[in-house]
């Protein structure tokens, strides 16, 4: 394998002010009293893994949530310092923090900058206050604008705005207004995800499979949803944002390095509650149980992860703060390279595939690729195998053939 590999770091902050109505991420509202204890455990974890990841060069750090910006900025600084002192962080690192507009202040933003954070991701979701209320967001569009200005003033030159399309009761025109407002602000990066009604959320009770047909009708049909998606692509393109992934758009030079890392199978170390990691060809995941996490013996976790790189098969390990550990076979690894790579507009890089497995995608998936090319869902050029526009509409249909 290659030497001096790149590494991405993900840090999970499982706290927020309140759960949004659509949210199924691992996050607890309130809980201010354990923020400090959690960050201490997090710092122990980061330090414990420093040796394992050794000399890898950290190209990206991403603090996600939950709402990481809910933390006292001093805690964020502690986390950042631990990362910088424990890992070999690249000079041009992309260091992102997710934030909820409504939790930011000048002081916080400045403190992030001082801590080395150079990219901020703001969860706006919609520029329509009625929609924000429906989603259960804690902020208005005006509060977002105020926070956005503050971030610019604090010196953030790389800002992402998160949007959600396909909201119940929102027309195509409604979302167009949001897009127009947001592009007017010229953030460097825009993520626009289609709403997913996840089981266990309040939205599921109202709009889910078992809910009243009448309520479900306020969600866009597949045809309407696609029309909104195409509109998003067009408006953003006209405004100078190119699409590089199914749901992500950026100005030239501002594609999210961290995001792309996942789809190109860069190694990443996830720290914090429920965080996922990929080390060598091993995928492991932390416990989602906060009690277990706070009391975890992370050195033991590291030993387990190290042991598992060389030993097979793996046993269940209830006593550890690890939820899943799985060494991927070559077939599984190849399958991932395909279905993950297809999320990118570039597609799956043939050279990268060949470097990793000594074969080309067509040698392994010739039948599938030919079928999807015939259905006009896949296409290829010298360098890449990629989804066509029609293929992007049916990405899961295509991807599922590669698992």
């Amino acid at each position: 394998m290659k030497t001096n590999k790149e590494l991405e770091i993900y840090i999970h902050i499982p706290f927020c002010v309140r759960k949004c109505n659509y949210c199924d991420f691992l996050s607890f509202p309130g809980c201010e009293d354990i923020h400090g204890e959690y960050v201490r455990a997090l710092i122990r974890e980061v330090k414990a893994y420093a040796g394992l990841y050794g000399n890898r060069e950290v190209s990206s750090v991403f603090i996600g949530g939950g709402t990481p910006s809910i933390l006292d900025p001093a805690l964020t600084t502690d986390i950042s310092e631990t990362v910088f002192t424990s890992f070999n962080v690249a000079g041009d690192v992309e260091f992102t923090i997710e934030s909820n507009p409504g939790t930011l202040s000048d002081k916080k933003l400045l403190s992030y900058r001082t801590a080395g954070i150079n990219r901020i991701s703001m969860g706006l979701q919609s520029a329509d206050n009625d929609m924000l209320r429906k989603l259960g967001r804690i902020h208005t569009y005006e509060e977002f604008l105020d926070n956005y200005d503050k971030a610019r003033k604090a010196g953030f030159e790389n800002i992402n705005i998160d949007l959600i399309s396909g909201l119940p009761g929102e027309s195509k025109d409604g979302f167009e207004k949001t897009l127009r407002k947001v592009t007017g602000l010229r953030p460097e990066h825009i993520s626009s995800y289609g709403l997913i009604i996840e089981p266990g959320t309040p939205f599921f009770d109202i709009y889910g499979e078992e809910a009243e047909a009448e309520e479900r009708k306020s969600l866009p049909s597949d045809e309407e949803e696609r029309a909104i998606y195409y509109m998003t692509r067009d408006i953003l393109k006209d405004a100078g944002y190119h699409q590089y992934e199914i749901s992500n758009y950026a100005l030239k030079g501002y594609e999210c390095r961290h995001n792309k890392g996942y789809w190109t199978r860069k190694e990443y170390a996830g720290f914090g509650l429920g965080a996922s990691s990929m080390y060598e060809e091993l995928r492991y995941k932390n416990t989602p149980d906060i009690g277990e996490y706070l009391n975890a013996d992370f050195d033991k976790n590291v030993q387990t992860v190290m042991a598992d790189v060389s030993s097979e098969p793996f046993e269940e390990r209830d006593e550890l703060a690890l939820k899943e550990i799985k060494k991927l076979s070559k077939e599984e690894s190849m399958s991932e390279m395909m279905f993950l790579g297809l999320r990118l507009n570039d597609g799956v890089c043939k050279q990268m595939f060949y470097d990793a497995y000594g074969m080309l995608p067509k040698d392994v998936y010739g039948k599938e690729i030919a079928k999807f090319k015939a259905e006009e869902l896949l296409d290829e050029n010298d360098k890449y195998v990629y989804l066509t526009k029609k293929g992007m509409d049916l990405a899961n249909y295509v991807m599922s053939a590669f698992v």
Partner: protein, 602 residues
Amino acid sequence: MDQQHIRNFCIVAHIDHGKSTLADRIIEKTGLLTQREMQEQVLDNMDLERERGITIKAQTVRTIYKAKNGEEYIFNLIDTPGHVDFNYEVSRALAACDGAILIVDAAQGIEAQTLANVYLALDHDLEVFPVINKIDLPSAEPQRVIEEIEDVIGIEAEGCPLISAKNGIGIEDVLEAVVEKFPAPKGDSAAPLKALIFDSLYDPYKGVIVFVRIFDGTVKKGTPIKMMATGATADVVEVGYFGAGQFIPCDELSAGMVGYITASIKNVKDTAVGDTVTNRENPCENALPGYKKVLSMVYCGLYPADGAKYPDLRDALEKLQLNDASLFYEPETSVALGFGFRCGFLGLLHLEVIQERLEREYNLDLVTTAPGVIYKVYKTNGEMIELTNPSNLPDPSEIDHMEEPVVKAEIMVTKDFIGPIMELCQERRGVYISMEYIEANRALLKYDMPLNEIIYDFFDALKSRSKGYASFDYELKGYERSKLVKLDILINHEEVDALSFIVFEGNAYERGRKMCERLKEEIPRHLFEVPIQAAIGGKIIARETVKALRKDVLAKCYGGDITRKKKLLEKQKEGKKRMRQIGTVEVPQAAFMSVLKLDEDK
């Protein structure tokens, strides 16, 4: 023990009136079993029976009762199946008895099956006495029910035992009545052997275990026996009687007794229920009356969901048939479903029971085609064929006419629901025969109805339209000429043989439309439009379209939780595997089943 101290009897009732519970109490009170040994319902052995609260196979138990007169009596309690599908088994079990306890629910009173069963018992010249059960229910009206029994059935009910089988109230009265009211058997032990087979089951070690009631003569180890109807012969290996849940060997069985015989018989088909066992060296003159060959009434195709499981399905059917001579099967192939079996059943319940046992006990995933009846097809060349698979219907030009089986249906319903139930019967092509009030608030409706109209979901419809206040029973009347057509379903212009069925011409349009609607819901969107059409003889009568798939993408990031994304994709792929490929269209297994229940509310 002499015959004077034997009582052979059964319990008859409408479903849910407490037959099995009373049987349990009788076994408990007669003392051969301690309470600890009792399973909740001793006689209902199969899991399925316990879950559904119905008895499918007749069970029998011998107990000893010490009566108030100080003498000990042998009670042979023969449990009978409680469903119309098993009417013939019921009639043979009754033929093995001398008396029948009639249980009637103190709140519900007489129901359709109460009448059917009691008439069946009276037809067999059994002594019948009623027992009013569930008297501790707040809604119990024992006096009203007593009057109803006397008025409607015409047997004496005043002074009958008032009991609660569930809570063990009044059981002693029942036991005493068994001794006093039921006659002792009157057979001649010295005469040639004459025994009735009322059930049999296959045991891997003993071979077929034959359940018999000895009318005349004696049978013991070594007796050379012969089944008079099937002609099978064997030498007896063991005789014995029925403990609760076990077989207890004894030296001999003589006139009046109920017990079992084993004789290294390998196939239950040789020991048909209703047949007479005799001594082949010293045979009796005449067989017992009433034997008939059991015929399948309902047919369907059973296919393994995974084609590779075909041998497993065959093995499972073979094993089930060892114990169930009324199950018929033969291999068939379907273009849509591959290799499978055309299976014949006594009725829809029997079908469901077999299907569930295959799925549960043999772990098979099945696809079932629409159940149908046997049609008689008279061809222009004078030939007649019995049609069990719609795909085999000859070209319409070769058909002169067709006949379908018709049943005599009896429905008992409270006054408020007579209207809706008559409407239902009319919709199902019922021919009104009569209506009589059996009491001020309840009527007995009689209809002649085509069997194919009741094998789908008639029970469900009856239940929902009467809010549960209707009960139903039927028997085969015969075959009648009818205008029938074959309805074909085309998916993406390709005919799907497994979805074809025979339908009354007048209902064909409606059926076809509903089938298309239902299939539209079941078939997932494809990359292209999928037309679903219903056709009769090549003429399209209904059409729906599954629109092309426009969106199948969920692009969340999950903070790098690739495993989660992968699981979702795996699930999607798994789902595809469970589909049947019909041309270029993938049809879920469930689609073949869902079209059976067309009348259900969506």
